[in-house]
Symmetry: C2
Subunit: 293 residues, 2 copies
């Protein structure tokens, strides 16, 4: 399977799972509509792809893999809704479409984000599963990545540094929390969902996730100054305009590109020992530093 | 133990547990400060009292009881922070003190609320516990009560009915979701934390919780028109001013008082069969319709 095929497989699988779970309690109301609007907004499903790609290194993806992929994506969707709010980044566009608070209203966006967070933990605690210890381990991985020890602390670091200069170490600390933590969780949960507990294996996968997570951010900063608004689906220079620190600002454009390349190579080296089964993970790493939007 | 003593016991116990869990990851930063500000703002801890009072009907409260009480209170605290935001109820005062977004800023308040929700699921999934099935059951109870099937849908109903008239049935539906669901979860989790699974017992406790939950709201509406701002710690008539439907508006003040009394009696009848051990639950029901703030 090449990356396009794998992406299609992962997207269809996680979308079907999310759709089924959301539909369980009808009737659909404005809350569910707003949750769906943000969950199904054309996102590339990079995190679910990682979860499935890691699981299939070891065995067939199972229902815990589906729940993990869906839960990570729900957390990601909730974080984007809240991040776009007027009191946060105040963005009107996300992937070329109105953000949740523009399409609905601010109160609905706050609540849809809240509900998507709860939904993530709902997915992982479903009574249809019969492996409570594994489910709890997945919940632990997800809350550690997304709460005060992870993503939310990254958002706080981000907010506190608008209009300030940041060192390279500070910028990395922010990204490792704000987006890196959830990418690492997507990878770890893929392994946990199929029962992998070997420390060395988990460490190699974590090093891969850590490197591509940071590479993704570096590339985002590069795209922000080299792409145009139409390709980007958001206002060009939006991060630069907000006086946010970026890698090209600190390292220059060529320096940032070299860093992305180095992180890519580190990531690939970690998964090459898994052989041909690691192809989607290698191609994902390639895609991350080749993409222009 | 009379109610005052029991309240002191439950408050001290849940506060110590929350404090310890929050302190596990130092250093304290602005996020943790805002989480603490809202968690320790002089709330009466009615929900933790319910959790402990129910647990001790059957046996000694244990660490799962502590985690349940703390998790429910964290969800309650997060919901108040988000409810007070400018885009929601836009309240500046909560229990006589500045609300979280006034004390800090809106972005911090959104994130502190988000982090308190994650924290609730963190508390219930702690690896120090060794009863994964029970922990999962508690997580299921909490997400059902707090997410799209419970509290958040209540908030949505509330928002969509400002400046509209509501029937008694609609008002009850809103309250059963917005506040009733979490009160029922506090009661159920108290029983689940000590291993109670008997359907009849759980049904009686749920009927108790359901009745006092609604009685609490009816009494809130009564207080809103009979108490003054100083006693209330929030602006008097704030709900009436917002053109929100209330029980006294629909039933008259005497009608609302009669309803609160009837719900109280229903609640007490459900727990009387438990004998003297149910005293805190009976006294809590008494307190709910006797309080004036």
């Amino acid at each position: 399977m090449n990356l396009e095929q794998f992406s299609q497989y992962a997207c269809e699988r996680v979308n079907r799972y999310l759709d089924d779970a959301l539909s369980e309690y009808e009737p659909a109301d404005r809350l569910q509509e707003a949750m769906r609007y943000s969950l199904f907004n054309g996102g590339k499903r990079v995190r679910p792809m990682l979860t499935y790609a890691v699981a299939q290194l070891f065995s067939e993806a199972n229902e815990l893999t589906d729940a993990s992929a869906a839960a990570v994506e729900s957390i990601h969707a909730y974080s984007l809704i809240h991040d776009d709010l007027p009191a946060m980044d105040d963005d009107d566009l996300r992937r070329g479409k109105p953000t949740c608070h523009i399409q609905y209203d601010e109160a609905t966006a706050i609540l849809a984000g809240d509900a998507l967070q709860t939904f993530a933990f709902e997915l992982l605690s479903r009574p249809s599963f019969t492996q409570p210890s594994m489910q709890l381990a997945l919940i632990q991985t997800l809350h550690t990545a997304s709460g005060r020890h992870g993503m939310i602390t990254g958002q706080m670091i981000d907010l506190s540094n608008v209009d300030k200069s940041m060192s390279l170490a500070e910028l990395e600390l922010m990204h490792r929390h704000k987006t890196g933590a959830l990418i690492r969780a997507a990878v770890k949960m893929g392994a946990q969902s199929v029962g992998v507990s070997d420390t060395e294996t988990l460490a190699a996968l974590d090093a891969y996730a850590s490197a591509i997570g940071l590479a993704f951010q570096v590339q985002d900063d590069i795209i922000d100054i080299t792409s145009d608004t139409e390709t980007l689906g958001k206002t060009q220079f939006s991060d630069a305009d907000a006086n946010k620190p970026t890698y090209p600002k600190l390292l220059g454009l060529e320096g940032a590109k070299a860093l992305a390349k180095r992180l890519h190579d580190e990531a690939v080296a970690q998964v090459e020992p898994f052989g041909p089964k690691a192809e989607p993970l290698v191609e994902l790493a390639n895609y991350i530093i080749a993409r222009n939007h």
